[in-house]
Symmetry: C2
Subunit: 277 residues, 2 copies
């Protein structure tokens, strides 16, 4: 039941969206100064920058680039929009390659104007279209199952079992799963599906935050680890038992925290990481 | 795939919470005048009334009492609060008996201060404690799985498969399931679990509304049928294929609709029922 103890920040990664008020340059400097060792770059942070130069800057600062967020959003009732989504994912693969990120996280998408079954089929088609190009670029793709409250327009993949099914159907070492506790903590089959994901060698990423009571916004009210009811240590023990030894990535969307002093928030993150993850 | 066509309001039931601004007396009169044939009574509507007299009033108005909402909320870290919850459920059984409602819907509860496994065990214990008393009163109990966005403090039962598991474990004809499309529409196993629920003779109630995009509040932003992405006709076809021939119950929590003219809203409900359910 107990995961390995966390004594330092060597496996801590932070998503740039977590400190959204900061530019990517500020995030890199602040994370590195705080002793954080990993960064996941959101694509909005790259706007107007040369991804290769940002990647070099990150590595020179002593940080590891864990992943690029995010690709996906494949389904649409509109064929032209589906084609545009494929193009945008190709651009993400190129950005990841230039940045030096070995992984892209996929928020798979959904369209409330069509059935979930059709959206799921379009997701499968989209990923299969991209896989050869991702492999050629040396970039893996991670399907992130999203909480069912996002099933209408953000993801038709809402259970870890569905992501595992997709990965098994595709049978490629370039596609796996990103496990985010915020989306999956409540699932009664979580432990067994994490183990299955590990057996598939498909557990590519692990994201942490917390679920607050009450939660006042569906999207941007995530809690800092320890503020909510997600059994973080228990889930990490399952993830590690499944063979995962990568970064623990802090991904918090929070209007509340984005409005606070970001250096103080970063201190809270590192403290909460050591205590609660 | 196609459910039986709906030509009239003979199987339409409305939950009093749907027209919350109205007293129970106004709801009874308005529903009956609109040709609605069923009513599910929320307990807040009974405050200060004699349930037996309200029941008689409902029947004399030509309405069928489909269920009483709601019992449950069994889990707590505090033993005294668990005991109070049992007492309150006993009161609900008595109210249902007096009202003449043959069914109580259970929102099972959860406590973010303890694990979901412990909450689920307390739910099972709570229902098992009540079952003999419910049977003696001639009142059935329906476990309502709630959307995973309510897993923190409203229900540790979030999938129809979990409710079906519980019902099978208990093996009593007095405990079954309430299927609410708002909570369950996204589940990839919904069709098979509805069929399983039918085989168990446990499909006690069917609730409809819709999921809007965007949804701006976790609790009180449900849509009128047709406003959202829930495949209502498809799900009703599954429910009917499982042997259900009871009322289709409209249960909408909506700050938006509660602020509008309620007679006009009732007209919208009956029109949406005929067109979209």
């Amino acid at each position: 039941m107990n995961p390995s103890p966390i004594h330092d920040l060597s496996r801590l990664c932070i998503h740039t969206i977590t400190t959204r008020p900061w530019s990517i340059e500020t995030s890199i400097r602040q994370y590195a100064e705080a002793g954080v060792k990993g960064i996941t770059v959101w694509r909005d942070a790259l706007v107007g920058r040369d991804p290769a130069a940002v990647g070099q800057h990150i590595r020179e600062s002593g940080l590891h680039i864990v992943s690029l967020c995010r690709g996906g959003f494949f389904p649409s009732v509109d064929r032209h929009k589906r084609s545009l989504a494929i193009d945008d994912n190709r651009k993400a693969i190129e950005e990841a390659h230039q940045l030096g990120a070995g992984l892209i996280v996929l928020v798979c998408g959904a369209d409330p104007g069509q059935s979930m079954e059709v959206s799921r089929e379009q997701i499968r088609e989209g990923i299969e279209t991209l896989l050869p190009e991702a492999a050629a670029a040396g970039v893996k793709l991670a399907i992130e199952p999203l909480h069912p409250m996002f099933a209408d327009n953000r993801s038709a993949i809402n259970l870890l079992s569905q992501a595992n099914d997709l990965v098994e159907q595709m049978g490629s070492p370039w596609v796996g799963v990103a496990i985010d506790v915020y989306h999956l903590w409540w699932d009664p089959h979580l432990e067994q599906e994490i183990a299955r994901c590990g057996r598939n060698k498909a557990l590519f990423a692990y994201h942490v935050s917390d679920w607050k009571t009450p939660t006042v916004d569906l999207l941007n009210d995530r809690g800092l680890m320890g503020e909510g009811c997600i059994p973080l240590k228990k889930i990490r023990s399952w993830v590690e038992a499944a063979g995962f030894n990568g970064f623990n990535e802090v991904e918090i969307f929070s209007d509340r925290y984005w409005q606070t002093d970001q250096p103080a928030f970063l201190q809270q993150i590192t403290a909460a990481y050591l205590k609660h993850v």
